[in-house]
């Protein structure tokens, strides 16, 4: 054993004596990921699933997807609903902005006969509270996933102080994914969230002078289940709202052809 290794072992021993055995461990001794793995509901968008570190929106946790208008939050939500509605009894969407588009949801693969849409009459605190209580009841009754589309005011409402924890606990008990979409989120929501995904628009993609899509930058601001700070580039092609590879095929280089051996 070299002098350097001996010094390292001594330092590790001192840290473990002072802060406990679990404070510092060798990577090889860490429990395999399968035992503590968190199940997730995939969104169907490979880049987003990879960013989260668990393969999608984690079950039993509160996830946030933030971004300005026109950054594709709703499309990520619809893709998530489409995947979740394929299994389970029903999925619920809390549509506080009243912008839900069932036609687009159906185009993206959502089973509408299993989709419940909560549409309160307004976005005031009273209506928000009613909607959140209803959503809580549906989660406890057994819906398979919950998606909430929040206006700016609702994201910063004081009501989230008790409801964020209550809703997260109910989702954890039912082991269902909960995804909130909004432009901004207040402290209670950010604190309760296990995953915060930020979407930013990079540039418009033009074809013949017309807007044909948008290039987005997705960043993980907070992640309790994986590494935060990761980023990825997404391209959103209009008008169907399908996410494609960072470089759309029209701009990508043609594939190289090779002759297969006979």
């Amino acid at each position: 054993m070299s002098l350097r290794e001996e010094a390292l072992r001594s330092a590790v021993g001192r840290i473990q004596n002072r802060f406990g055995a679990a404070a510092l461990q060798q990577a090889a001794r860490v429990e395999p990921a399968g035992e503590a793995a968190v199940e997730a509901c995939p969104t169907g968008i490979a880049q987003v699933d990879e960013l989260t570190g668990v393969g999608g929106i984690p079950l039993g946790r509160l996830s946030l997807c933030l971004g300005a208008a026109g950054t594709g939050k709703m499309l990520i939500g619809y893709h998530f609903l489409a995947q979740a509605s394929q299994s389970g009894a029903a999925v619920a969407m809390l549509d506080l902005r009243g912008h839900a588009d069932p036609w687009l949801m159906a185009q993206l693969g959502t089973r509408l006969d299993r989709t419940l849409v909560l549409r309160p009459r307004g976005a005031a605190d009273a209506e928000l509270k009613t909607a959140l209580e209803t959503a809580l009841g549906l989660v406890r009754a057994g819906v398979g996933a919950l998606l909430a589309d929040l206006p700016i005011d609702a994201g910063q409402s004081r009501l989230w102080d008790p409801f964020a924890a209550t809703l997260t606990a109910a989702c954890a008990k039912a082991a269902i994914p909960l995804l909130l979409l909004g432009e901004v989120a207040g402290e209670p929501l950010r604190y309760a969230a296990s995953l915060v995904l930020r979407l930013q628009r990079q540039e418009w993609l033009l074809r013949h002078g017309d807007i044909d899509g948008v290039r987005l930058q997705a960043t993980v601001e907070k992640n309790k289940l994986g590494m935060p700070g990761r980023g990825a580039e997404l391209c959103l092609a209009y008008p169907r709202g399908t996410f494609i590879s960072p470089l759309p095929p029209v701009w990508a280089a043609p594939p190289r052809l090779r002759v297969l051996p006979s």
């Binding site: 009894a89 069932p102 036609w103 509408l112 419940l116 909560l118 549409r119 009841g137 549906l138 398979g144």
Partner: protein
């Protein structure tokens, strides 16, 4: 042993009782219920005296008037008839657990295990006499047909001490007791069959009973076979017992009377919890909640009823509609008694959950929750989208919103239907 009580038809009895309250005695008069003879309506019921003239239920009132011009015609009163039938059945049910009110003014009571049959029949007769103010004819037999015939024989017997004595046909002697009776009178519901028997020279039940079974079946088919068995005193028809409507009730007396909603809700919560425990014990779900508030210094209580959208089986589920029902009431005086009653019983769990299908039982739970939401906040809060069959050009018309609870309930029902053939 079956007891048959021949009482007047319920519409006739209701008419007689209603007129008796006004001091008019109609007993012994031909009565026809259904309307005035000038109306184009059928006869609803006719008394025995009117039937003797050939009047029967279903014939036009004008024809009934031609057959029996001296009959008293009266319009029907369905509410009074239902009330009388319910009271009669409840009274008979208090005497015997198995009672049946048959059409044509007959009540059947199973008297096995209720003491000496003739003495019990006398008690039933006394009750009916007191209730209907007419003497019922009582017949006892081993089955419904024999009891029916015995009651018919008792009706023609002499009145002793102001009562018609019950007629008993002992077990084992049914065939000999029925043998001398006319086929026409005993089987009036088979007129064609009786006419054909008369052509063969068979006029009494004893003649028919002595015929070989195979020969009667070959000649008259299933109808002949049935008549032959009846003639021999064999009747396989079972009594169809009436069961009183179930209800569970919890009440609390408030002393001193309460004039504030908060303590009233507190008491109501306790009553709802007790109701829930009783529902869970019995495995019931209920569809109707009835609230009754007795006010201090006021003879008229406040009564309210709520029909639930979906059956509820626990106190937790019942609390929301009950609290809303209570908060909706306008109380003008302090409340001295609070009473909650649930009815409309059905099994708490209507479907066996498939353990091999993931999340199979959740559909009903979500539907129940949606009903609850609809009760509380209206049915427009949670909707289910549906696409238009043909996509129009205007975006807003590509979809419409449907009732979410109804949509999920249809899916749950379709799951049940799919599973039945398996």
């Amino acid at each position: 042993m079956i007891l048959c009580c021949r009482i007047p038809d319920i519409p006739i009895a209701a008419l007689v009782l209603a007129r008796a309250e006004c001091g008019e005695q109609l007993a012994g008069r031909p009565l026809v219920v259904g309307g005035h003879p000038s109306e184009r309506k059928p006869v609803r019921a006719a008394s025995m005296e009117a039937r003797a003239f050939g009047v029967c239920a279903g014939m036009p009132l004008r024809q009934a008037e031609q057959l029996c011009p001296e009959a008293l015609f009266s319009p029907a009163d369905p509410a009074a008839e239902n009330s009388l039938a319910r009271h009669l059945l409840a009274g008979l049910y208090a005497l015997a657990p198995k009672v049946e009110l048959a059409a044509g003014g007959e009540a059947y009571v199973e008297v096995d295990g209720l003491g000496e049959p003739v003495a019990f029949a006398s008690r039933v007769g006394a009750y009916l006499h007191q209730r209907l103010r007419s003497r019922p004819a009582l017949g006892l037999g081993s089955n419904k047909f024999v009891a029916h015939i015995a009651a018919g024989l008792a009706a023609g017997a002499a009145i002793v001490d102001g009562e018609l004595a019950p007629r008993l046909v002992p077990c084992g002697s049914e065939r000999s007791s029925l043998a001398p009776l006319s086929i026409d009178e005993c089987l009036p519901e088979m007129p064609d069959f009786c006419r054909r028997l008369k052509l063969f020279g068979l006029r009494r039940l004893g003649d028919l009973a002595s015929m070989p079974l195979a020969a009667v079946q070959a000649q008259f088919g299933a109808e002949g076979l049935q008549a032959l068995k009846l003639a021999r005193g064999e009747d396989s028809r079972r009594l169809q017992p009436w069961e009183p409507p179930q209800r569970i009730e919890e009440q609390s007396r408030l002393d001193p009377a309460v004039d504030n909603l908060t303590p009233l809700l507190f008491v109501a919560r306790g009553l709802v919890d007790r109701l829930g425990e009783r529902l869970i014990e019995g495995g019931y779900a209920v569809t109707t909640v009835r609230l009754r508030l007795e006010l201090d210094d006021s003879p008229d209580p406040i009564e309210a009823q709520l029909k639930l959208r979906a059956p509820m089986s626990t106190g937790e589920e019942l609390w929301t509609p009950v609290s809303q029902l209570l908060q909706r009431q306008v109380m003008t005086a302090p409340v001295s008694r609070l009473c909650l009653r649930v009815s409309g019983f059905c099994p708490a769990q209507s479907r066996q959950v498939d353990l091999l299908t993931r999340a199979d039982g959740r559909l009903e739970d979500i539907t129940r929750q949606l009903h609850l939401v609809a009760d509380t906040h209206g049915s427009e809060l949670v909707r289910m989208p549906a696409l238009a069959p043909v996509a129009p050009l205007v975006d807003e018309r590509r979809h419409h919103w449907t009732d979410a609870a109804q949509g999920l309930a249809v899916q749950a029902a379709s799951r049940v239907r799919r599973r039945i053939p398996a």
